[in-house]
């Protein structure tokens, strides 16, 4: 009986093994926050990848096969993400795109590295992610030290002498806040307030009241857009008109919806250029295709950056005619130069970071539009 069961077991295993060898699609994973507080980001990432994969398949596929997107939900939560990563790494994927938050990505890096799966993160800007020497890890978004530099420069250009910095204790927000703080202190700009809020709450009046009593010339908030919107709204209800500057996680059209046009006016933020301000032919075609398929323009630059992650993976597989992770990683590290991405030219350095200046400064005008600052 036991022998019979064992035989059956082996047979089933073999069947699975054979099936995975004869797979007739190139599987690319997507790990994103499909549910949870950042679900809108994850769902748009999925839309972008579906659109791009359709495009590849209509144009003859990839090394003679079709591309298949396998999406898993990380719920914007590190524990859920490691489960998703474990699941994806058993699904015979060549590479994975994602994910959005730095602390979430960090929970999955080693899982993919051990399974030799290329990971291209799209929204994870924390510095240390690429300082670990992981061979198969890349990201299409820039790093916080670059953002910190641009942020500090913007604060200096606006002529602030006393600055309040507020973060939300996530890897990303704290990293950016620390970076900016160090750079500003070097230039003798005093940091009069440096604290963290709890994301997901509704009432930040207590924090604003405390911040106001430290009398800053300007506030640098490094957290995400839902909190930024509430802060702007509650600050203007308090009748306090101090200028706010946000990090790239505040870049989202919902920011203006939450804050209201009047309260959002004058808000500065740093970000990779918005989809509407991308001027390469690839980007224009992409935005038009997206609009056609989903009847709305893409909202989030991170979703577009996940599209770039997908496109560099496709390019690597196409050029090397292989799905061998070592070959792909080598190609991405060394041979991919100035690839025409949706968000500008893409090259990676040895650490897997994207090379080049990406950040721009935007300002919200009275109509709630995001206007690129010169």
């Amino acid at each position: 009986m036991i022998r019979k069961a064992l035989f059956l077991f082996v047979a089933v295993c073999m069947a699975f093994a054979v099936q995975s060898v004869s797979a007739d699609t190139v599987k690319i994973g997507l790990m994103g926050p499909m549910t949870g507080p950042w679900a809108s980001e994850g769902q748009e990432m999925k839309q972008v990848l579906d659109l791009l994969a359709e495009d590849v398949n209509e144009n003859g596929g990839l090394i003679g096969k079709k591309v298949e997107i396998i999406a898993q939900d990380d719920a914007g939560d590190p524990r859920q993400a490691s489960l998703a990563a474990n699941r994806l790494s058993t699904m015979d994927i060549v590479a994975v795109v994602g994910t959005y938050g730095s602390s979430i990505t960090e929970a999955t890096q080693n899982i993919y590295d051990e399974s030799q799966i290329i990971q291209v993160a799209n929204g994870s800007t924390a510095i240390r992610l690429t300082e670990k020497g992981l061979k198969y890890f890349f990201r299409t978004c820039p790093r916080d030290d670059e953002q910190g530099r641009v942020g500090a420069q913007t604060i200096k250009d606006l002529g602030f002498k006393k600055v309040a910095i507020l973060h939300d204790n996530t890897s990303y927000a704290k990293g950016l806040a620390d970076e900016a703080k160090a750079l500003l202190e070097k230039d003798n700009i005093s940091i009069v307030f440096y604290e963290a809020l709890t994301p997901g709450e509704r009432d930040y009046n207590a924090i604003l009241t405390k911040m106001k009593s430290s009398k800053p010339d300007g506030v640098f908030f490094t957290g995400y857009y839902p909190e930024a919107g509430l802060l702007l709204r509650q600050k203007s209800e308090m009748g306090w008109n101090v200028p706010f500057i946000g990090g790239d996680a505040t870049n989202h059209p919902d920011l203006v919806k939450i804050a209201g046009k009047k309260s959002a006016e004058g808000f500065y933020f740093l970000t990779a250029p918005l989809p509407k301000d991308l001027d390469t032919p690839e980007a224009k075609k992409f935005v038009a295709d997206f609009q056609k398929k989903y009847e709305a323009p893409p909202n989030s630059i991170y979703a577009v950056l996940s599209g770039d992650g997908f496109r560099v993976i496709v390019e690597a597989i196409k050029s090397t005619k292989s799905t061998d992770p070592d070959k792909l990683a080598d190609f991405l590290h060394k041979k991919l130069t100035d690839f025409p991405g949706l968000t500008g030219k893409i090259s990676f350095n040895d650490k897997g970071d994207r090379i080049g200046e990406v950040y721009r400064v935007y300002r919200v005008d009275g109509e709630g539009n995001f206007v690129l600052q010169p």
Binding site: P37, E195, A206, I207, R233
Partner: protein, 301 residues
């Protein structure tokens, strides 16, 4: 000193909302000894229903701000109360005779179902209440600017809590609820229909939670489908702080928790605000294990 009072009003506004939600936890616990983990999500549903009714029916235009708002509150309370009753019938009633843990697990499951249902119906993006619904008036109290809405929210929550307290203490039905909370078996022997009492509790508690959701939507503007989690957790804490099962306790606990948070954030550290609040909770539970006002159990002796 001005900052102290400013922070006090900040804390009172938040605390009023906590207290309203805490009432739902405490009422259900009082009668069923069940922690209704789906209560936070009923609060979320209140916020979303409020938005839908507000934008689809344009009540304010036809009835004026005051009556429009009143009707809106009543409709949201009614609908959320109805959902609460359905929740009890579907998820808790079949488990009435099972071990208490089964019902808690069922409550957690119901919470997940509600949260994801809201996400699937309304989408994952943040929804925003129209901004010009309530007049944005700021009044000066001793030279301190306080938005009128904040005062209205506090007044509304105190009014609802007062009405509930009166209802529980002074009416016949309220007496039945208290009797069922004290001893279901004895209450049944005295001719009280305990099942109807439970139904009523699941009507009132969620209705108040829904009203709190609507107020949060009207005041803060931004709502999303995960908002019930933090408010639920804080309100649950508030209920324990005041003594779970005890209605005035939930009110005191909620307002106290809001004030502790605001003052902790102001004078100690913002990042430690929750830690401070929970530290106070631990201290109170060490010295008064049944919460500030104590569980009603004391009345039995």
């Amino acid at each position: 000193m001005e900052e102290f009072f400013q922070q006090l009003t900040n804390g009172l506004a938040v605390g009023g909302i906590y207290a309203l939600i805490a009432l739902g936890y405490t009422m259900v616990y009082g009668v069923l000894k069940l922690i209704n983990f789906a209560h936070g999500d009923l609060f979320t549903i209140g916020a979303y229903l409020g938005l839908t009714l507000l934008t689809s029916m344009s009540l304010m235009d036809s009835l004026g701000v005051f009556f429009g708002l009143l009707l809106l509150v009543l409709m949201v309370m009614g609908l959320v109360g109805l959902i609460g009753v359905l929740l009890d019938q579907i998820a808790y009633k079949p488990l009435r005779q099972s071990p208490r843990l089964s019902a808690v697990v069922s409550a957690l499951g119901a919470s997940i179902v509600f949260q994801n249902a809201v996400m699937l119906i309304y989408g994952a993006r943040f929804q925003v209440y129209p901004q010009d619904i309530l007049p944005r008036i700021v009044i000066n109290i001793f030279g301190m600017p306080v938005p009128l809405i904040r005062i209205m929210i506090l007044m509304a929550s105190i009014f609802m809590m007062g009405a509930l307290y009166f209802f529980i203490q002074r009416t016949k039905v309220g007496t039945a609820i208290r009797a069922a909370a004290e001893d279901q078996g004895a209450a049944r022997l005295m001719g009280i229909d305990v099942n109807r009492v439970i139904m009523l509790v699941f009507l009132i508690g969620p209705a108040l939670g829904g009203a709190a959701g609507l107020m949060v939507g009207l005041y803060y503007g931004q709502i999303n489908f995960t908002m019930g989690w933090i408010y639920g957790l804080k309100a649950f804490t508030a209920a324990i702080l005041g003594g779970i099962g005890n209605i005035p306790g939930a009110m005191v606990g909620g307002i106290l928790l809001g004030v502790i948070e605001a003052l902790g954030a102001a004078y100690i550290s913002i990042a430690w605000k929750d830690a401070i609040a929970f530290f106070v909770l631990i201290l109170i539970l060490i010295f008064r294990p049944t919460g500030l006002l104590g569980e009603r159990v004391a009345e039995k002796i």
